[in-house]
């Protein structure tokens, strides 16, 4: 029904208030401009009757917070989606399963607004400010969603203590009204606390950094969804900042916390901002997810979380609530199946399903960490280029010998991983998946036990005793009983056998630093053509100090090839057969997932 925007009030709208009354109400609603507000504040200060009227208006309005907070029934989403037009409904209904599953809900990440604006009233975890019913409880401010505050403060202060909503202590604090009109200086906080206050909604329900770390597990909130498609995150993650009235209320809440509670918040903030940026970003997102989750909980669950007496207990409650949700949000078919089982079978079934979910989650995590590749369907660097594909495959086979058990240096698990990754990369068409291969090669290249050293030009590396015939020091060593037993497991493996021999020689001081050239190439001429080219290149690029360091290592193995590799890395070059093909910085950038992956270009 169209409404006339300027329509005059109708009969049931009641009498027109006097201008003074309307002004007072606008003031209470924060709708007066500053000069008018100041004028009214002066009047309020001088006029007790006006003050009393203002207070009656405010108190009567605050009473609305007593209304129960209605929650939708648990089937609301499903029922709504079922009413969609048929075609859309089918896909949406399955989407709903993911959307409503707390373990996979992407919501929190994308609701920083909700967090920053709605949780300003969440009470601090634990019950310090409320543990003593006679202790001052923070005044009831008008927040963006007052029922959150009501749920929080009242629940924590009243119900949690078993006094009920109408317990006199709680009611007294509930009705607490600042006797003077708003005094902006009351909200002033030291500059040092600014950030703590801004983040108060995020910090409020967190015990400490350790608690936060525990929340990062996939069982809790470790499922941090990535930014939506096509968006870049060039700046560090910063929660939305509360402004104006919201900030005032947060500042007030902070000031009214017990000193030890304030100190706890400062400490948490300090620790958080001491973290290296990538980890801090993840933690901030985690805080947002947690706060948004808490905000959405039904009252009784939230109460249980907030009133837990210790971090450990709180984690327990969170886990229980999330587990409950997890089962509740299983597809109807699975829930039915669950119901039909005896209790013992049920637990087994749940464990199985959770394991399946963990497996899928791992896949998703990998996909999310490299979502630009997943999104675009393009293989990651360096596999977009056919020549590079071939080179990397050749490198992996020649360096790690996954198909030759005698020469393979990898552990069984690592070897299987490599074999699987190579297999996935060799699938046909769109099924070809290159990321695992890149990742596994990068990771092996970082493991000291898989250190690679260039083979000699003649293609015959030292991998067995006969290879060292004619080197006196070695023959003396092999004459001893124990060393052979230690060295034998490395027969056939380059450079493990040679390194083991050297270690034994050094231990028994039979060779010292002389003669190690018997073990492997340690002059430019000893290497294969491709390595020699890199040496030449590096000699041109290196500083005098670098050139000297390489020169000094000449004739010593493995000192020379190690120095060579170090120098190559410094100049972002790869030593053939020793380092994965392509610039090391690109491997680092693409496959080092301990820092954030590169953000894709929008639209790319």
């Amino acid at each position: 029904m169209p409404i006339d925007p300027n329509s005059s009030p109708r009969e049931d709208d009641g009498p027109e208030p006097s201008p003074a009354e309307a002004e007072l109400i606008a003031y209470l609603d924060g709708e007066l401009d500053p000069p008018a507000a100041r004028k009214l504040e002066a009047k309020l200060a001088a006029d007790p009757k006006l003050r009393a009227r203002a207070e009656a208006l405010k108190r009567s309005y605050d009473l609305l917070d007593f209304l129960p907070k209605p929650e939708p029934t648990s089937t609301f989403t499903t029922r709504t989606l079922e009413k969609l037009p048929p075609v859309a409904a089918a896909s949406a209904a399955s989407a709903a399963v993911t959307a409503v599953n707390p373990a996979t809900t992407p919501g929190p990440r994308s609701t920083p607004g909700i967090v920053a604006t709605s949780l300003s009233g969440v009470p601090v975890a634990g019950d310090a400010p409320h543990s003593n019913p006679s202790a001052p409880v923070v005044a009831f401010p008008r927040t963006r969603r007052p029922w959150v505050w009501a749920a929080g403060i009242l629940v924590a202060a009243g119900l949690a203590l078993g006094t009920g909503y109408i317990g006199t202590g709680a009611v007294r604090s509930y009705f607490l009204l600042p006797s003077a009109p708003r005094d902006t200086t009351a909200y002033a906080i030291p500059l040092a606390d600014l950030r703590v206050v801004e983040h108060l909604p995020l910090y409020a329900a967190v015990d400490d950094l350790d608690f936060l770390d525990r929340l990062a597990s996939p069982d809790f909130f470790g499922e941090d969804p990535l930014p939506p498609e096509g968006l870049t995150l060039p700046h560090p993650v910063e929660p939305e900042k509360p402004v104006g009235h919201q900030f005032d209320q947060l500042a007030k809440t902070f000031r009214e916390l017990a000193p030890d509670q304030q100190e706890k918040m400062r400490e948490l903030d300090h620790q958080l901002y001491e973290l290296e940026p990538a980890r801090r970003d993840r933690s901030v997102r985690l805080l947002e997810s947690y706060a948004a989750w808490l905000y959405r909980l039904p009252d009784h669950d939230r109460k249980a979380v907030l009133s837990a007496p210790s971090a450990e207990k709180r984690l327990g409650v969170i886990r229980d609530v999330r587990n409950g949700h997890w089962v509740e949000n299983l597809p109807a078919e699975q829930r039915k199946q669950l119901k039909s089982q005896p209790a013992a079978e049920r637990a087994v079934l749940i464990a199985q399903w959770r394991a399946q979910e963990d497996f899928r989650r791992e896949g998703w995590q990998s996909a999310r960490a490299h979502w630009e590749f997943v999104r675009t369907g393009k293989p990651p660097w360096p596999f977009q280029d056919d020549r590079m594909k071939k080179e990397v495959l050749e490198f992996a086979t020649a360096a790690y010998h996954p198909d030759d058990l005698k020469r393979c240096r990898l552990t069984t698990a690592d070897r299987e991983r490599l074999v699987e990754a190579i297999k996935e990369s060799q699938e046909v068409g769109e099924k070809a998946y290159w990321f695992p291969l890149g990742k596994v090669i990068y990771e092996f290249s970082k493991k000291p036990q898989y250190e690679l050293l260039p083979e000699p030009a003649n293609g015959k590396p030292v991998v067995n005793y006969p290879d060292l015939d004619g080197w006196e020091a070695a023959q003396k060593l092999f004459a001893r009983p124990l060393p052979k037993a230690k060295i034998n497991p490395h027969i056939g493996k380059w450079p493990d056998f040679a390194l083991e021999v050297l270690a034994e020689l050094n231990r028994t001081k039979l060779a010292g630093n002389t003669g190690s050239y018997h073990l492997g190439p340690c002059r430019a001429v000893d290497f294969k053509e491709d390595v020699r080219r890199v040496i030449l290149d590096l000699q041109k690029k290196s500083t005098p100090a670098e050139a000297k360091a390489l020169k000094d290592a000449e004739g010593k193995w493995p000192d020379y090839p190690r120095e060579l590799a170090r120098l190559a890395r410094a100049h972002d070059m790869s030593v053939p057969g020793v380092m994965p093909p392509g610039p090391p910085s690109m491997w680092e950038k693409t496959y080092n997932t301990t820092t954030r992956p590169p953000a894709p270009k929008a639209g790319g």
């Binding site: 309307a22 009567s60 209605p70 109408i166 009705f175 006797s179």
Partner: protein
């Protein structure tokens, strides 16, 4: 958010707009997420407006379905929630008007106010009468519910948006299709009515009212 911004800039800032744009593009999962994200607020608001849990759910559901039906027409010009609550406002007012035309038997206490107190049901105590400390929570919420139901439809909507969505006058004006001035008048009348209806309950913790509080001088 100013109108001058391009939609992409705005979308960058507002996750809800991003979500709605996905809904517009027929992303079913996005719609499910939208329902998940706003159902609590919508059901809450509707419940406060119509006073019945079942009806509130039906109305909230109708809001979502309408969002879905008109998704192609969505263009990100304002805060998403303003758009959503505009739809909610229209549906809620329609429902209240229909109900007036075809009165149904009240199912919940909250609805009784429109038809006067039920037999034996105590109306709001006289001004100045202080209820006993023993007034139970249920009774108190009933009194508040009745006070809210005693407001005009549009007053009630405005009050609920202001109180529970913390919308300022300008936002309420946007949602209700009124001028800010009209909202100011609507809200001040409503606030006075509420004060009137709840006067007897605001000092019930035994604390004496401040000077001059017990007598009104208007």
């Amino acid at each position: 958010m100013s109108i001058g911004q391009s939609s992409s800039q705005m979308a960058l800032r507002d996750p809800d707009i991003r979500l709605m744009l996905r809904v517009r593009d027929d992303d079913a999962a996005a719609f499910a997420e939208l329902v998940e994200r706003f159902q609590h607020r919508l059901v809450g608001i509707m419940h406060h407006i119509v006073g019945s849990a079942d009806e509130a759910e039906d109305l909230a559901q109708e809001v979502f379905l309408r969002v879905y039906r008109i998704r192609k027409k969505y263009s990100p010009k304002a805060k998403f929630s303003t758009w959503l609550f505009t739809i909610a406002n229209n549906l809620a007012l329609n429902a209240l008007r229909n109900r007036k035309r075809r009165p149904v038997l009240p199912l919940e206490v909250g609805e009784s106010a429109q038809f006067g107190p039920r037999p034996g049901e105590n109306s709001v105590p006289d001004r100045g009468e202080t209820p006993s400390h023993g007034l139970r929570h249920k009774e108190l919420t009933d009194v508040i519910r009745r006070a809210l139901d005693g407001l005009g439809e549009r007053q009630r909507v405005a009050i609920v948006l202001n109180k529970f969505e913390d919308m300022n006058y300008a936002e309420i004006a946007d949602v209700m299709g009124l001028t800010t001035k009209a909202v100011k008048s609507l809200l001040s009348r409503a606030r006075m009515k509420l004060r009137e209806a709840l006067q007897g309950y605001i000092y019930m913790d035994g604390e004496p009212p401040p000077d001059g509080g017990s007598e009104e001088d208007e």
